[in-house]
């Protein structure tokens, strides 16, 4: 019966696919290609309503095989891509994009640009409207390539500009690129998403032409629009922009504060802490302590000597001034049940001492103040330091012993 035929057909199709998969995963490209030619038959009776139909399969598998097997014979690849484009109009633009990426990765920028322009002008009834997303991406990538050409011209111009020889034609051409790039880039970053590269390029363009307000607006939108996924990079770009613009400390701090809220373990937190420590305001300094404590919560910061020295410095300041011990107490309260095991175990003392003496110095200082002079970490490191006749470790030991009562006040 026809039902059975369908079933059998499906079965053999699946079997063929699994052979292809087997070959691909064992890097047997030739064998995979042979099976793929058999699989092409499945196009004839495409009953499937699966997520990925056979024609898409062929496109993907074929790309994979050619990518690995044809040793960059671009001609073959392009030929295959052209065929794939005609095979499924529903995927036309996707295939185009894929093709463009391939060209780009092989350094054929001009061909890629041509392909993008062609794809952009593709019209196929309803299909054009359905593939709206892809069109946007294609335009965006064209914008990106325009930006690349622009920055190339800029380089030429700047080099020649130094000689006092400005070329009007180059400048005009460059401006043309700018306009083309700006239009397309502006479009794509309106759609919620992660568009780091496009945003950076667009901002670069705007800054060059002195449109700082527009740039600021773009970056603010990218960072603060709640429709966009929470993206720490957006805040980083904004912060860097503000820094370039020479903005006030206050606005820089507020930008970093938000970054701190999203990603307390961000690399910029050290800058943030230094900035806050220098501040005159008590609130800011307290925030600084909070920031550095929070950063050191993360496993990735465990051996960051810079961060530990920031913490040690601030803790030392507080202890000497004996003013804001409650800040430390507040931070320490939520950490005292796990920081000792996490940071100040005997095992870590040994290892830190072996691997990084200055790290162990900073950590020992913090440990001595937070946990008292009897804590394992401090004891081990100060003992080793004194044994090695290192002056600063002796001073450290004295300091901690002198301020031992602080520990009781903090933990009490």
């Amino acid at each position: 019966s026809s039902n059975e035929l369908k079933l059998n057909f499906k079965k053999s199709k699946e079997a063929c696919l699994s052979y292809i998969q087997d070959a691909l995963l064992q890097k047997q490209w030739k064998r995979a290609a042979e099976f793929l030619t058999c699989y092409v038959e499945s196009l004839e009776k495409d009953y499937s309503r699966e997520h990925i139909g056979p024609s898409e399969m062929i496109w993907r598998i074929g790309t994979e095989i050619l990518w690995h097997h044809s040793q960059n014979r671009m001609k073959e690849f392009s030929c295959f891509m052209e065929q794939m484009k005609t095979l499924g109009v529903k995927r036309y633009l996707k295939v185009c994009l894929e093709h463009v990426f391939h060209l780009l990765c092989n350094g054929q920028i001009d061909e890629a640009y041509q392909n993008l322009s062609l794809a952009e002008s593709w019209r196929f009834g309803e299909q054009t409207a359905i593939q709206d997303k892809e069109i946007k991406l294609i335009q965006a990538y064209r914008g990106l390539l325009d930006y690349c050409s622009w920055s190339k011209q800029k380089k030429i111009l700047l080099e020649h500009g130094e000689d006092g020889f400005a070329d009007l034609a180059v400048e005009q051409e460059m401006h043309g690129y700018f306009r083309k790039a700006a239009v397309n880039l502006k479009e794509i970053i309106k759609i919620p998403g992660v568009w780091d590269v496009f945003v950076k390029c667009y901002v670069d363009l705007l800054e060059f032409y002195g449109e700082h307000n527009e740039a600021r607006q773009v970056l603010n939108e990218y960072a603060y629009n709640s429709k966009f996924p929470a993206n720490p990079n957006a805040h980083v770009y904004l912060y860097q922009f503000l820094k370039r613009q020479g903005e006030s400390k206050k606005s820089l701090i507020s930008a970093l504060k938000i970054l701190h809220d999203i990603v307390p373990s961000h690399e910029l937190m050290i800058d943030f802490n230094t900035m806050l420590q220098k501040s005159k305001k008590r609130k800011k300094r307290q925030l600084g302590l909070e920031v550095i404590f929070a950063a050191l919560d993360y496993a990735g910061w465990k051996e960051n000597a810079k961060a530990w020295s920031c913490l040690a410095r601030q803790v030392k300041q507080i202890v000497i001034s004996e003013k804001h011990l409650d800040w430390i107490k507040q931070e320490w309260n939520s950490r005292k049940d796990w920081w000792p095991d996490f940071h100040f175990s005997r095992y870590l003392a040994k290892r830190n001492w072996q691997e990084n003496k200055s790290l162990s110095y900073e950590k020992a200082l913090v440990a001595g103040i937070l946990l008292g002079k009897d804590c394992k970490y401090f004891k081990y490191v100060s003992h080793q330091g004194c044994k090695a006749r290192l002056k600063r470790f002796r001073i450290l030991k004295k300091f901690v012993t002198r301020h031992n009562p602080v520990y009781l006040r903090i933990s009490g």
Binding site: F101, K152, V194, P229, D337
Partner: protein, 869 residues
């Protein structure tokens, strides 16, 4: 998905697919999301090799679909096109009634047994008639019903309906409805486990590398035993092939071990073990040969579905149960409930599976269900949480895609996370949640339940292994985080998949390399080797410039197999030489002697041989008592009997050649004549060579097709013979009377056996133990001796007397003497000796058949040469 996605086509927020490397001076360079060249790892062996010998106990394979599915042609027709399976509920319930009648009908059965008549005869008209029913009729009805199963016009026999109507409510010990409910639930559970068993998620195998790098030693933690309820810590030395060192530390647990998780904190390993209702944690000090110390056990009311060990703090674990509860478990402070929500997080999904793992922050735990992942702060779990991964548009998920296994990739990058679904694998960065930094469609046939990370040194790729359970698939992926500098303004970077994913050997794959087995052995072996995978572990080993990767795979049968991958230094992309080598069917490089090996066979082959031997021992042992007593074939025939003709005769050669040729041509042989002119001559030549041998005679006759005639001749011939034999026997009995006692208990299985096999033309396997020992004249055979046989007096009395005495002098027990003598005589006689059937022995026995005397008659009694007696 397809692997053919060098770069993922973008979704709404897929972001830049190809990312320009921005540096102020240079041209932006475009880097693909999938680098073409990764590290090259090549398998050292053609198949995975067993690490440990199989355990002694027999292994009970888990149920197969055909055990619980209803199979009938009608059903299949109805189902064609529709998905879903019909469980054979009635059969299982029937099994229960038959297997556990006491539990099913115990008390009422005992009460009523007088009223059920089980015989075939008609019931007599007595007083009891009124209160007794005949069950046979009922059984017949049931049988008839069974025979008509699937018939569309079937209707219940009225008698059955009447009976079931009457006793449905009270006959059963357990109320039938309740019982059926329980059974149905269990069946459905078994079936869903067969389709996808998520209780194994995470895997029950862990590798604890040793602290000091001098000795390549580590410890394998794996479950074992018949019920997989023993936990073993086995020291393993990593040489060319890893091998066990010393006996393992062993712990017996009360349940089947589902998961073994391990993490190293401060130089100590913490090993968490999950079974359905219990979780336990062990501490293994970093020193080699240190004894593992059990720390704590917790019991759960609902089966636990996850146990992970904190990589940050010693003695901290996270536990999830199927009721949707997540706990942070600290050995020091006990359990802290972080969340209790039987509902799934992002959309409704029926699966009670939950998972939880640690993140970059020791106080923040991720918790997952099939719909996604959230991160919870243990200090304020209600308030502080964020979504890390959601099955949906952000990650470009397919319809029906579900989370299968999340894993914290902390050892590679502190903020990265692996999430696998049945279609794809994702790498997520908790700083940029929801949008994966890497996505790849893995195309595995079964969802990956196991994953293992091997972090690469800075600048090198990280390796991730994905393993599926049912299909034993194993994939090796390589990825690189931050493929352009992180320092460039603190920007986060996407990940790059490098090289092509690579398929590794599965346990079943070795089957084709093993030496050919007997069919039933092959089947058993196949069943054993294709048991679902239950765990995965791996380790990187750097021995100077040589880098290798060892991958351990555990099967549900408790076998641990291992394969080694060798790192090939960057070479110009060589032409795919492996192409042909690996496709050759049934190539078995494993058992071929490698040129480099001094022992002739590779160590892998030796390992296999040992494993197979241990396995076959394990198979043989348990059913020992149930086996029929077997007898050595060697003693049934003299070795001349077993000796075939020197070589194929020219005729045989001809015939064989013809046969082969015909088979090649695909034709058939209708008549042998043209070549083999007379088929009978073939055995005749044999006969000539072998002398008057009854067996050959008979076979020759059978070959020629006139076996009937032969039989006739023989029987008529034997009448006369029998008379003669009887006469002789009487004579000898008289003679032997005085000496019988000396050798009375000597047994000779020889005579009987060879005679019988001559008669029946079937091997000794036909000798069932139930068969009475043949007509012992001297009472029962001595206890402890092999089952059998009456004893005849020795053929040559004087010699026998002498020899048995001399044997006694040597301290040989009575029972053995005869055996020994026979044995010696067989070997002493040399080739040209007719089958050892001394007439006197044969004639003593009253054989069921008339031909037993044949040999005795045809050969005059004669002395047997005896060595030294």
């Amino acid at each position: 998905g397809g692997p053919g996605r060098p770069r993922e086509p973008a979704g709404r927020s897929g972001g830049a697919l190809t990312l320009p490397l921005r540096s102020p001076q240079a041209q932006p360079a475009f880097v693909p999301r999938r680098g073409a060249t990764g590290e090259r790892w090549e398998a050292a062996e053609a198949a995975a090799v067993p690490v440990l010998l199989p355990s002694a106990g027999c292994w009970i394979p888990s149920p197969a679909p055909e055990d619980i599915l209803y199979r009938s042609s009608l059903c299949r027709k109805l189902r064609a096109g529709k998905s879903g399976a019909t469980l054979d509920f009635a059969k299982q319930l029937g099994h229960f009634f038959v297997d556990h009648p006491e539990d099913a009908f115990g008390s009422l059965g005992r009460l009523l047994h007088k009223n059920f008549y089980l015989g075939n005869a008609k019931l007599k008209v007595t007083v009891s008639r009124n209160s007794t029913i005949r069950m046979t009729a009922l059984v017949e009805d049931i049988d008839r019903l069974e025979a008509r199963r699937g018939c569309p016009r079937q209707h219940l026999a009225s008698r059955l309906r009447w009976f079931s109507h009457l006793c449905r409510d009270w006959l059963f010990e357990v109320p039938l409805g309740l019982l059926a409910d329980c059974l149905h639930e269990e069946l459905a559970q078994q079936w869903s486990n067969l389709l996808f068993d998520d209780s194994l998620t995470g895997g029950a195998l862990a590798w604890l590398p040793s602290e000091d790098r001098e000795t390549p030693v580590g410890r394998l933690v794996h479950p074992g035993g018949q019920a997989m309820n023993h936990l073993y810590f086995q020291d393993v030395v990593l040489e060319e092939l890893p091998h066990a060192r010393g006996p393992p530390a062993q712990f017996e647990l009360s349940e089947r071990i589902r998961q073994v998780a391990a993490a190293r904190v401060d130089g100590q390993d913490f090993v968490g073990v999950r079974s359905d209702y219990h979780c336990g944690v062990w501490r293994v000090p970093g020193k080699t040969r240190a004894v593992p110390i059990p720390l704590q056990v917790i019991r759960t009311d609902v089966p636990a579905s996850c146990l992970t060990v904190s990589p940050h703090l010693p003695g901290e674990l996270s536990v999830c149960t199927q009721s949707g509860t997540v706990y942070l478990w600290s050995v020091e402070t006990g359990l802290q409930q972080l969340r209790h929500d039987p509902q799934t997080m992002f959309f409704r999904d029926h699966s009670p599976w939950r998972w939880s793992d640690f993140t970059a922050h020791p106080r923040v735990l991720s918790c997952a269900d099939r719909t996604g992942l959230q991160c919870l702060d243990a200090r304020a779990p209600k308030r502080c949480h964020f979504d890390l991964f959601k099955v949906g548009e952000e990650a470009g998920c397919q319809q029906g895609e579900r989370v299968v296994l999340p894993m914290y990739l902390g050892r590679a990058h502190p903020s990265q996370y692996l999430v696998t679904t049945q279609f794809s694998m994702y790498v997520l960065d908790e700083r940029l949640p929801l949008v994966p930094v890497l996505k790849w469609a893995h195309m595995m046939k079964a969802p990956p339940l196991f994953a293992h990370l091997m972090p690469g040194k800075p600048g090198r790729s990280h390796k991730v292994l994905l393993g599926a359970s049912r299909t034993q698939e194993l994939l090796l992926l390589q990825y690189r985080d931050s493929f352009w500098g992180v320092s460039s303004g603190g920007s986060q970077s996407a990940c790059q998949l490098v090289g092509t994913p690579q398929k590794l050997h599965s346990i079943t794959g070795c089957l084709q390399h093993l030496p050919t087995q007997l069919p039933h052995r092959h089947h058993l072996l196949q069943q054993r080797l294709s048991a679902s995978a239950a765990g995965l572990a791996a380790t990187l080993q750097e021995d100077g410039p040589r880098k290798s990767m060892l991958i351990f795979q555990l099967s549900e049968a408790g076998d641990v197999f291992c394969q080694r991958l060798i790192h090939k230094a960057a070479q110009p992309p060589a032409p795919p030489s492996r192409d042909e080598a690996t496709t050759a069917p049934r190539s078995s490089p494993l058992f071929e002697a490698p040129a480099s090996s001094p022992h002739g066979l590779g160590t892998a082959a030796l390992r296999y041989r040992r494993w197979l031997r241990a396995l076959s021992r394990a198979w043989r042992e348990p059913p020992w008592h149930t086996w029929p007593p077997s007898l050595s074939q060697r003693r049934l025939f003299t070795h001349r009997d077993l000796e075939g003709p020197a070589g194929p005769s020219s005729l045989q050669k001809q015939v064989r050649q013809r046969l082969r040729q015909t088979m090649q041509e695909g034709g058939r042989i209708q008549r042998w004549e043209p070549l083999a002119l007379q088929p009978p001559p073939l055995p005749q030549t044999l006969e000539l060579a072998g002398g008057p041998d009854p067996l050959s005679n008979r076979l020759t006759a059978a070959w020629a097709g006139d076996w009937d005639q032969w039989w006739e001749d023989r029987t008529s011939f034997s009448v006369a013979q029998r008379q003669r034999a009887l006469r002789e026997r009487r004579r000898r009995q008289k003679r032997a009377q005085g000496r019988r006692s000396l050798s009375a208990s000597f047994t000779s299985s020889l005579t009987y056996q060879s005679e019988l096999s001559e008669l029946s033309d079937v091997g000794p396997s036909l000798l069932s133990p139930g068969r009475p020992p043949v007509l012992s004249q001297e009472g029962s055979p001595p206890a402890g001796s092999p089952p059998v046989r009456s004893h005849p007096p020795s053929p040559a009395p004087d010699e026998a007397l002498l020899s048995s005495q001399s044997l006694r002098c040597r301290g040989i027990p009575k029972e053995r003497r005869k055996t020994l003598r026979d044995y010696l005589s067989v070997w002493a006689e040399g080739p040209p000796e007719p089958p050892e059937l001394p007439g006197s022995q044969a004639s003593q026995l009253c054989f069921p058949s008339s031909q037993s005397q044949l040999s005795s008659a045809s050969q005059p009694r004669r002395k047997r040469p005896r060595m030294g007696f």
